[in-house]
């Protein structure tokens, strides 16, 4: 077992443990944190695959932003854990069945049993790249040439998501008092202050 193999098994085990933690943790905040751990573990696995850009983007986007907001919501909600766990045993068989089917399909497609689509040939093609190979650069090149249309459309979808979210939630409350910092900064002396010329009064 090489050092890389060791790392693989280490992080793969971690990933499985963390994923189990997500669904078995009693406290939803703990579940969310287990999910963070599983993101980390899978990111480490991606680094082993030389996909450093994706690995770091996973941490940056999911751990750094998405899960933070997720935790926010989970922390502020008063979730009745017992209520949520009620159906666990009842739904376990069907859940297990779905999981089993999914696993069987994957094994069938990827594994040696089924239609050998990946084939030994393509598996052997995964050569190690030189140290100066930049995964980021390659991704950028392919995204802006071959996949430029889907890439742009994905951007449009995100734009629509923003527009939709704002259109559905933004409410102007007329009663709210606003401060506009720009106006505050623009204030001149003469807007606020009036100097009145007065003659000095004689002392009584």
């Amino acid at each position: 077992m090489t050092f890389i193999d060791f790392n693989f098994y280490l992080f793969a085990t971690l990933l499985i443990v963390a994923a189990l933690g997500v669904i078995t943790a009693r406290n939803p905040v703990h579940s969310a944190l287990w999910l963070v751990l599983s993101f980390f573990a899978s990111s480490a696995l991606w680094i082993l695959l030389e996909a450093e850009f994706l690995a770091i983007a996973l941490v940056l986007v999911y751990v750094g932003a998405v899960m933070v907001l997720f935790l926010f919501v989970v922390m502020m909600l008063d979730i009745n854990v017992e209520q949520m766990r009620k159906g666990f045993v009842r739904y376990l068989p069907i859940g297990a069945l779905v999981a089993l089917v999914l696993a069987a399909q994957m094994i069938w497609i990827v594994g040696p049993v089924g239609p050998d689509v990946l084939g030994d040939e393509s598996l052997q093609q995964s050569v190690r790249h030189a140290a100066d190979y930049s995964n980021t650069k390659e991704l950028g090149r392919i995204l802006y040439t071959e996949y430029v249309l889907p890439f742009e459309i994905a951007a449009v979808i995100l734009l629509v998501a923003i527009v939709a979210a704002i259109a559905l939630t933004l409410r102007r409350r007329p009663a709210t008092k606003y401060q506009t910092p720009a106006n505050q900064v623009k204030v001149k002396r003469n807007d606020r202050l009036r100097i009145v010329k007065m003659d000095a009064e004689a002392k009584e």
Partner: protein, 362 residues
């Protein structure tokens, strides 16, 4: 070579380890070499802060605690503080989530220290030079927020919870502007490798990215201040409103670790700003006639340390000068000012790229 000075038995002993273990040992050694000076600087940055702010407010600052009966301008103060914090009891609030309560400080210090793995201190002098160094740093600074959020939640205290929410929203908001600013740096240097980014600024101070990317430089540094929850963006602590924010329930060593993380982050942001905008370890006078032949024209660690110190000083300066921002204004600044500014400047940069001016004039 140095190897001549090492006794034979040590080399034999060393070679007796498998190669993988040797690698691990070397990496561990490097980590120690980075972390020890770093932690020491953290201790003395707190001292510097008190001295600088003292001077700005016409006070003296700490000047009593010294070594062996000598006062030495109070240089023993950080050591004394550290010992005091280590001796104190860590109080666990009732109904606090014990495990997370104790994990939170670790989560806040770990990314602050881990980010140093890719920081080059001089040409080729880094723990590891990875291709996506810039992204790595960005990712790690963004996960520092977990320490704050978890501390706030696990403390089972209103003030801590409020602070966690404030800090979370603030950090997520400023991270975007920070990321965009880094995209500008990436466009200018054409690389995500921090070493390459510095080398792209070679040739004296006029080649620093700070000039063509001036708005991004400001946005990055100010966002950095906001990311570290420092004044004037320290609403997460806001001692006048929410006592001390997320670490209100922490005491002793647990509190000290938060403290450590905050200052480690200050140094980190300063280091990154100098690497990306002020040419890191490069000399500003590389081509200046007066400096030729002296150490001033050489690239060295000293320049890097000097630039870091400057930015750390700016952190203190800001704290001594500005009142705390109101929370809605922090959000406004982040979302409505910084993000548009960075996006506009990325477009300007693209125009400069096409027109071949600035760093693109090849």
């Amino acid at each position: 070579m140095m190897i001549e000075f090492i006794p034979d038995w040590l080399i034999v002993f060393w070679n007796w380890f498998p190669v993988d273990i040797q690698t691990v040992l070397i990496i561990l050694g490097k980590i120690v070499l980075i972390l020890l000076p770093l932690l020491l600087s953290v201790a003395y940055v707190t001292y510097a802060e008190r001295k600088v702010i003292g001077a700005m407010q016409v006070r003296i600052g700490p000047n009593r605690v010294g070594f062996f009966g000598f006062r030495l301008w109070g240089l023993g103060q950080p050591i004394a503080d550290t010992l005091k914090l280590m001796m104190k009891e860590v109080v666990l609030p009732t109904k606090a989530n014990k495990f997370l309560f104790l994990t939170a400080p670790v989560l806040s210090i770990a990314p602050a220290l881990a980010a140093w793995a890719v920081i080059p201190f001089d040409r080729g002098m880094a723990l590891t030079e990875i291709n996506a160094g810039l992204l790595y740093v960005l990712a790690l600074t963004s996960i520092g927020v977990y320490g704050v959020i978890i501390a706030g939640w696990a403390s089972n205290s209103k003030y801590a919870m409020l602070s966690a929410l404030r800090a979370g929203a603030q950090i997520v908001a400023y991270e975007i502007a920070m990321g965009f600013a880094l995209v500008g740096v990436l466009m200018a240097s054409g690389s995500l490798n921090l070493g390459d980014i510095v080398e792209a600024q070679a040739g004296g101070f006029e080649n620093w990215f700070a000039w063509p990317l001036l708005p991004l430089f400001f946005v990055y540094f100010i966002s950095g201040v906001a990311e570290t929850n420092r004044a004037p963006f320290d609403v997460a602590e806001g001692e006048s409103e929410i006592v001390a924010g997320f670490h209100v329930e922490y005491s002793g060593m647990a509190f000290a670790i938060f403290f450590l993380a905050e200052y480690a982050n200050i140094i980190l942001i300063s280091a990154l700003t100098s690497l990306m905008f002020l040419g890191g370890w490069l000399s500003p006078f590389e081509n200046a006639a007066f400096a030729q032949g002296t150490f001033l024209a050489e690239t060295s660690l000293l320049w890097f340390v000097g630039k870091i110190s400057f930015f750390i000083f700016v952190f203190f300066w800001l704290r001594a000068t500005f009142p705390r921002y109101r929370y809605d204004q922090i959000m406004r600044l982040g979302w409505k000012v910084f993000i548009p500014v960075t996006i506009v400047w990325l477009v300007v940069e693209a125009v400069m790229f096409v027109a071949k001016v600035g760093p693109w004039a090849v």
